[in-house]
């Protein structure tokens, strides 16, 4: 069963800016789908079209089998939404926000428990939102999205403003919701949280979907070599490992030689080259982190269309952080 489907979904804003370009996306019922992309990739515009905040220029979408442009209120009845960058009602308390959403959805809710679940105390619950921190607002918005046990959660940058602790709690709740059979669709530019909870990932860049798949499948299809760290007895001079095929960059830290690879077959070559010159003590092979995958993928994608300044294809990327 399909929770969200888009077919050729396109949005051109006035002035010819193409925010979303011919997007075909399918999110199955019951899965946690991570919608990844850098800021400005068009993620929010896609979500805005799913919720009928913005009308598509071309193409169509269905959410829970309904067309947002004609049946938005039926979609909203079964969907919990956390919109991005929207302000709450400064003069209302957290409790009043949750109670209002419950009333609008025609469900009853234990507001105290709902807020407690996202980490807002009963003292917080009775304060006006005007005095909330950014993280508290985000927690409240998440609690509002969860009201009424919706079949689908659409969360736009849900971890924005959360501290690491808050992000951990957020992931925990997403897992609980997924265990209860709910579909979770959330956008993010933070890869760690997506890697941790998503069944499938779609990468959006510059309005185009550049890849979809499970985190594992994305690693494989991209044929990423990962990194290999080799502990050696003595680091040889003039190694020149970088010049070998499939080796992207080499760093030396103490007696550890660490090579980032574009091709996994280069691992053996690196080890062999070191083994020739010195004694190898330990070998640690690491798979590609999604963060790296993401960076490389989105920049490769751009490089396909425009060459980098020095005329070569821009396939070299730095590992973020």
């Amino acid at each position: 069963m399909t929770a969200i489907q888009t077919t050729g979904l396109t949005k051109r804003f006035d002035g010819g800016v193409v925010a979303v370009d011919d997007l075909d996306l399918r999110v199955r019922e019951g899965e946690v789908f991570g919608f990844l992309g850098p800021n400005g990739a068009g993620k929010s515009t896609v979500i805005n079209m799913l919720l009928d905040f913005v009308r598509p220029t071309e193409g169509s979408a269905t959410v829970l089998g309904h067309d947002p442009t004609t049946d938005a209120d039926r979609i909203r009845r079964r969907t919990g939404v956390l919109p991005e960058g929207s302000s709450l009602y400064e003069r209302l308390t957290g409790r009043e926000h949750v109670e209002w959403v419950a009333r609008a959805n025609d469900v009853s809710v234990d507001a105290g428990a709902a807020l407690d679940r996202v980490g807002l105390s009963s003292a917080d619950a009775d304060r006006a939102v005007g005095g909330y921190s950014k993280g508290m607002r985000q927690r409240l918005a998440f609690a509002m999205a969860l009201v009424g046990e919706p079949d689908l959660l659409i969360l736009d940058e849900p971890s924005a403003g959360l501290d690491p602790n808050g992000m951990q709690e957020f992931r925990e709740i997403v897992r609980e919701e997924a265990r209860d059979g709910r579909t979770v669709f959330f956008s993010s530019h933070v890869l760690g949280e997506v890697e941790a909870v998503c069944d499938r990932i779609g990468i959006l860049d510059d309005g185009e979907l550049v890849a979809t798949g499970t985190p594992d499948a994305l690693r494989t299809t991209l044929e990423f070599g990962g990194t290999i760290s080799v502990d050696v007895a003595r680091v040889p001079d003039d190694l020149a490992l970088e010049r070998r095929n499939g080796v992207e960059s080499v760093t030396v830290e103490g007696s550890t030689v660490r090579a980032s690879l574009a091709d996994p077959t280069a691992k053996a070559e690196v080890v062999a080259a070191l083994d020739e010159r010195t004694r190898v003590l330990d070998i640690v092979s690491e798979e590609t982190s999604l963060e790296r995958l993401f960076n490389t993928y989105t920049s490769n994608h751009r490089a396909e269309r425009s060459l980098t300044d020095d005329g070569r294809e821009g396939t070299r990327t730095e590992v973020a952080g």
Binding site: F53, V54, R76, G85, S86
Partner: protein, 282 residues
């Protein structure tokens, strides 16, 4: 149901806003002042409540639109600018429900302010004046309420059609100037200009009644003022230099003016619903 959830939440939010309260107390205060002026100012004979009520209508003509516009113009545009409209529209309410719910909420707040004003007026009428003129009083109160709601409707329409606070404010101020401040001075009103062009320049000889009718259709304040003429006894309107209703064409009678006033209540809401339904919220 959905209209009610929008209205009740908005009412909760708006009644905590200081601006709404500070605007709301002005009307009762002004009524008290104008009644006091009539009470103290009548040198010959007993103070006449009808004059005080006429003042109440005139105070209303100027101040009621200001109260209605200020209390309402941000209702939707403010939420669009801050983005909170997305929370509102993430619940199962339609865009039409949002516009109607906001109207109900702001209309209740403005109506509450008017009722307070009428209560003050009623108490002062009994305490200071000899005859109560209950029928005139009730009719003026009713017409003023419809008049206020018409301006709430206009402000909701402007708020539904604009995406930012500043544009909503420009729209509300512009409407207030065009229909109110300008109307008070007949020489510079758009209507005077129209009459000048049609009759003095083009020499069409359009009658005053037709010009007046155009005025009522294009301006709720004029419709309100004409409608109040029917409330007062003929003798009084004559002393104020106003035309007697039986001298006027049928389409500028006070009753027709009241109907046009109701139109001013409905049409802006319909237009606002249609505009907001197609609005992009990003």
């Amino acid at each position: 149901m959905s209209v009610r959830t929008v209205a009740s939440k908005d009412f909760l939010d708006a009644r905590r806003a200081k601006i709404v309260w500070s605007v709301g107390v002005h009307y009762p205060l002004l009524i008290a002042l104008f009644f006091l002026q009539v009470r103290l100012g009548s040198v010959a004979g007993p103070p006449d409540l009808l004059v005080a009520l006429w003042n109440m209508a005139f105070v209303g003509a100027v101040f009621v639109p200001a109260i209605a516009l200020v209390a309402t113009y941000l209702a939707i545009a403010g939420e669009r600018e801050s983005g909170s409209i997305k929370y509102l529209l993430s619940t199962p309410v339609s865009r039409r429900d949002v516009v109607l719910g906001k109207f109900v909420s702001r209309a209740s707040i403005v109506a509450a302010s008017l009722v307070l004003g009428f209560a003050v007026a009623a108490i002062l009428a009994v305490a200071w004046f000899e005859s109560l003129h209950a029928a005139v009083f009730v009719k003026i109160a009713a017409l003023t309420t419809v008049y206020a709601l018409a301006y709430v409707a206009v402000a909701i329409g402007i708020s539904a059609a604009t995406a930012t606070r500043s544009r909503a404010m420009a729209g509300a101020l512009g409407f207030y100037f065009a229909t109110n401040l300008v109307t008070l001075n007949d020489d510079i009103s758009g209507l005077a200009g129209l009459e000048y062009v049609l009759n003095d320049v083009l020499g069409l000889g359009i009658g005053a009644d037709l010009i007046q009718f155009v005025g009522m259709v294009t301006n709720p304040t004029r419709a309100y003022l004409v409608s109040t003429i029917g409330v007062f006894p003929d003798g009084m309107t004559a002393t104020m230099g106003l035309p007697r209703p039986d001298e006027l064409s049928w389409y500028v009678q006070p009753e027709i003016a009241a109907v046009i006033l109701v139109g001013w209540l409905l049409v802006p809401i319909v237009l606002g619903v249609r505009r907001f339904d197609r609005a992009t919220l990003s």
